[in-house]
Amino acid sequence: MSAVAVVAAVLAVAGGVGVIASRRPVRSVLSLLLTLLSLAVLFIGLGAEFIGLIQIIVYAGAVMVLFVFVISLLSAKNEPLERPVSLLPGQERWGGVAAAVLAVLLIVAGLRHAYPAARSVFDGYGAVRAFGEALFYEHVFVLQLAALLLMVAVVGVVILIARRS
């Protein structure tokens, strides 16, 4: 495991903690951004260059911008929440238990080398060409289904907006 991967992993976890620990919504968004960027670094480190870049362009560069847009409009005043509000009453402790179990499993798995050794991948694995070939030759049916799903969502949005006026 390279130093870059360790740093990116630590930053990703720190960002995740920041999302739920921060009292200011905009800081939560910034933390989420940190997590997304760290995940992109991890993707690129694993050889999935295209996924990593798309992660930055789509999630960090577009989706999160809309988050910033909405949150900075809704909480235009820079005031922290007065007390930590529990949005999921009663679920936090179970979340903590689940996280602890998962952590134990991961550590045990890591110690035991439960994962099979990485298969030797072909040259250019994870690059745009290989990604495109997998997407448009092997998995083209799933791709079309996903496109249909997105189209339904877009039509739904248009109908909802049109109904209001």
Binding site: R27, L53, A60, S72
Partner: protein
């Protein structure tokens, strides 16, 4: 390890060069705007006003750095850093010329050469918006917030057309690596094969760096200075820096994607051709500023979504058909 050192030295040279060009460009822009307006521009600081950037830099450094009382101080300080960082980072993948051989080593004239170079440039461009919108929110001023809102909507809208128009180039070149894209243009520049894509990319580029006629996030006649209203001193200068670096990277990307990059008649070395083309595009940026008035906000959005985006889709389909039939 040696390669890492070479990259570090390259980054250092690149940053110093970019910031020097930025300083020079502020003067050139003021002089050119002066001539466009039948004025003379700065003249009092040295011959031809040459010391004006130095005077500006000293002014930015010694000016009082005001942070508004209600501001989110951390985000307020972070925003200009994000702006400058993303604007500089785009340049890490931009090749300024073919690889050169120094002392038996082949050294590429770019800091990093990933297979998805053009996508990396797009990725950093897409992150630039955080500097602007966070600055606007953290300032806790209505003008700043309005500027930030406009910036977020404008940049997202035009980024779409920008990405769509660049796809045509990818299809023609069959690669996302910027050096490959330049190599693919050794016969004919992509501007002749992709005239519509070129126009869309350049217009979207002007909108991405929020320059006249798309400078609504700043819009000094209505929003004081938009997202940067509450900034002063060096932090304000950092936003200026990001804007000029953005102009330079858009010009460099247009040069690489559509204007044959560093190819040109042999009487100039390749790097010089690259710089000449970038300089010519920067002149166009200033020319636009001197020529056009600011567009109205609703027209800006209409233009982005109803003209630019459909056109870029059409360009994509026509290019794909062309590549499939004759490629």
């Amino acid at each position: 390890m040696n390669d890492l050192w070479i990259s570090l030295v390259q980054s250092l040279i690149l940053i110093v060069a970019l910031l020097t060009v930025f300083a020079g460009m502020t003067l050139v822009e003021r002089k050119l705007l002066g001539y466009f307006h039948l004025r003379v521009g700065p003249t009092r600081t040295g011959p031809w006003g040459l010391a004006q950037p130095i005077a500006d830099a000293i002014k930015a450094f010694v000016k009082e750095d005001v942070i508004p009382a209600g501001a989110d101080k951390f985000v307020f300080r972070l925003a200009p850093v994000i702006s400058v960082f993303t604007a500089l980072a785009v340049w890490s993948v931009i090749p300024v010329g073919p690889p050169v051989e120094i002392g038996g080593r082949v050294i590429p004239l770019q800091v990093a050469d990933p297979a998805g170079g053009a996508l990396v440039a797009l990725a950093f461009t897409s992150l630039h918006i955080y500097g602007v919108s966070l600055a606007g929110w953290a300032s806790q001023s209505k003008y700043s917030l309005l500027g930030a809102m406009r910036a977020a909507a404008q940049l997202i809208s035009y980024e779409l057309s920008m990405a769509m128009s660049i796809l045509g180039v990818f299809m023609l070149a069959g690669s996302l690596r910027l050096a490959d894209i330049v190599a693919a243009q050794s016969d004919v520049a992509f501007i002749w094969l992709q005239p519509v894509g070129f126009l869309i990319f350049f217009i979207a580029g002007v909108a991405e760096v929020a320059r006249m006629p798309f400078d609504l996030p700043e819009a000094e006649t209505e929003l004081v200075a938009g997202y940067s209203t509450e900034y002063s001193g060096m932090r304000f200068a950092m936003f200026m820096m990001a804007e000029y670096l953005g102009m330079m990277s858009v010009s460099a990307m247009v040069t690489l994607l559509y204007l044959k990059g560093w190819h040109g008649p042999a009487f100039l070395p390749p790097v010089a051709w690259f710089l000449v083309k970038v300089a010519a595009l920067l002149f166009v940026f200033i020319w636009l500023r001197a020529t056009f008035v600011r567009v109205r906000y609703d027209r800006l959005m209409d233009f982005g979504w109803k003209v630019m985006l459909p056109l870029s889709f059409l360009n994509l389909v026509v290019t794909a058909a062309g590549v499939a039939l004759w490629g």
